[in-house]
């Protein structure tokens, strides 16, 4: 029984890896800049927002360049994965309608693909840390934070991919929602607790992870235990809910596509 469960997990991971590798190759096909395209977007955002930093109160934020870049790349991972998962099942309709295969690898392939590009962004972040006199070794502590963050994002991806089968314009709705969330998350500014954004933050799971990562990796401080507990809890709830919902609806995918 246990072996069958482990074999199942192994198969899901293998297929997820294979699909993400294919997507990664196809995305960089015929591109002279190759993987640097992945870095160009966060870097251009970073340069623009850094230049605007003084207007946005960045001067008052300790180690603002690192604060800003880590916020951008963590949010970028969230928005890229969730956007891509909106139509991932529909994009693979051919396989789903003609093979009895697990559907979860299609969602995981999106997460793996963007985890890979996130790895390059983290590498750039390490260079920034080194140049700005922070200890780049602190990034090692980002690994467990990212793992929990990965599961939180995975839960939302499962929900969106399942809904995407039944509602064709979910990607448009999600695009608007994630743009609003981008502005409501303190990525390029600091939000005091008594401000409007400060009051919204407690219901924004992305904020918890960005806060925890900043506290540990940039400032070398232990984050508030409350934030850690809420972060872990949100990942657990998101992943369990997403997976349950996906498993309820997956039986209808082949018929509805």
């Amino acid at each position: 029984m246990r072996n069958k469960f482990l074999d199942n997990i192994k198969n899901i991971l293998q297929l997820s890896y294979s699909l993400s590798k294919t997507n990664f190759k196809l995305r960089n096909e015929k591109s002279y800049l190759g993987i640097f395209w992945y870095l160009l977007e966060p870097l251009s955002f970073f340069i623009t927002l850094y230049a605007l930093g003084s207007f946005l109160g960045g001067d008052n934020i300790e180690k603002f360049p690192l604060y800003l870049f880590l916020g951008i790349i963590m949010f970028n991972f969230f928005s890229s994965c969730t956007m891509a998962s909106c139509n991932i099942i529909e994009a693979n309709a051919g396989f789903i309608k003609s093979l009895n295969i697990s559907k979860t690898p299609f969602v995981f392939s999106v997460l793996f693909q963007y985890s890979f590009s996130h790895f390059f962004e983290i590498f750039i972040f390490c260079i920034f840390m080194f140049l700005l006199g922070s200890n780049p070794l602190l990034i090692l502590l980002y690994v467990p934070i990212f793992l929990v963050y990965f599961f939180m994002v995975a839960g939302i991806c499962f929900v969106l991919s399942a809904v995407g089968v039944f509602v064709s314009d979910i990607s448009n709705v999600w695009n608007i929602f994630s743009r609003i969330l981008w502005f409501l998350t303190p990525i390029f500014y600091f939000a005091p607790k008594d401000s409007f954004v400060g009051m919204i933050n407690p219901i924004n799971p992305v904020y918890y992870f960005i806060y925890i990562a900043r506290e540990i990796c940039i400032y070398g401080r232990i984050p508030s235990l409350m934030y850690v507990i809420v972060g872990l809890f949100s990942a657990l709830i998101s992943f369990s809910f997403g997976l349950i919902l996906f498993n309820i609806f997956k039986f209808k995918f082949a018929e509805k596509l």
């Binding site: 294979s18 699909l19 294919t22 051919g94 396989f95 093979l99 009895n100 039944f166 314009d169 018929e255």
Partner: protein, 254 residues
């Protein structure tokens, strides 16, 4: 051993709702819900019961829209029945063509690895099988060529060789073949492909074939189910049922 039940299909029914919605957008979903329009329903299968035993080759016969593919997809667990159940004693592979997992922007080698992983074969085993696949396809010189540069005949060779080799490797207890007998390609390759299909059918514990080719059904099957309007119209001996099917109105018009 011969009398072991490999597939048990019990009281299986399936209906499809035909969407009256113009699209799947949020707005249309809301309007549709508010108007409380009832969906049109099509009964694809109605109360299907049969058993397939160890060593059986079962053929499913019927006109287009009679429910053949739906039944095969339910047995393969791609679709799920609304009522009743399907019980399988062993793993099952469903083939309805030879194009699973192929991406024209990838090279032949990359496509073989992708197809392997979609069929649940790890890359270590695909590496062991790749020699056989390439040899059977006769495309040794094109390993690193992107598939969009292949002719249609070459694509068929690649798809057939990979799929059949992976199926042989997996050794499933049950193979379901949904209109896959026309492999295509040039005459030499077609001959090789037919031999390979013969081997596949003979070497397997249980095979289900859906086809309109009556001579093929007579050659391979030991039992035939004739589906009509989603119901089992007749079940029994291949020679008798194929003749009746041939003599039915359907064939007079042809």
């Amino acid at each position: 051993m011969k009398n072991n039940i490999i597939i048990r299909v019990s009281n299986v029914s399936k209906k499809f709702t035909v969407d009256c919605k113009e699209s799947k957008s949020i707005l249309h979903n809301i309007i549709y819900f508010l108007k409380k329009k009832s969906n049109k329903e099509i009964i694809a299968l109605s109360d299907i019961n049969f058993k397939v035993f160890n060593g059986d080759t079962l053929a499913i016969l019927g006109d287009n829209g009679s429910g053949k593919s739906t039944l095969l997809k339910i047995i393969s667990k791609i679709y799920y029945p609304d009522s009743g159940y399907v019980k399988l004693s062993g793993d099952c592979i469903y083939l309805n063509g030879f194009g699973h997992g192929m991406n024209p922007r990838l090279t032949m080698k990359e496509n073989i690895f992708l197809m392997g992983s979609l069929m649940g074969i790890d890359s270590r085993n695909v590496r062991l099988l790749i020699g056989d696949i390439v040899k059977f396809s006769g495309l040794q010189e094109f390993m690193d060529v992107k598939v969009y540069q292949f002719s249609s005949g070459m694509i068929i060779r690649l798809l057939f060789s990979s799929t059949i080799t992976f199926v042989e490797f997996k050794k499933p207890k049950i193979i379901i073949l949904d209109e896959v007998f026309n492999a295509g390609g040039d005459l030499d390759f077609q001959k090789k492909a037919i031999e390979k299909m013969n081997q596949l059918i003979k070497n397997n514990i249980c095979v289900i074939i859906a086809s309109h080719d009556l001579s093929l059904i007579r050659n391979y099957a030991n039992k035939v189910i004739w589906l009509k309007g989603g119901k089992i119209f007749k079940i029994g001996d291949p020679d008798k049922i194929t003749k009746e099917y041939e003599n039915s109105n359907h064939f007079i018009y042809r």
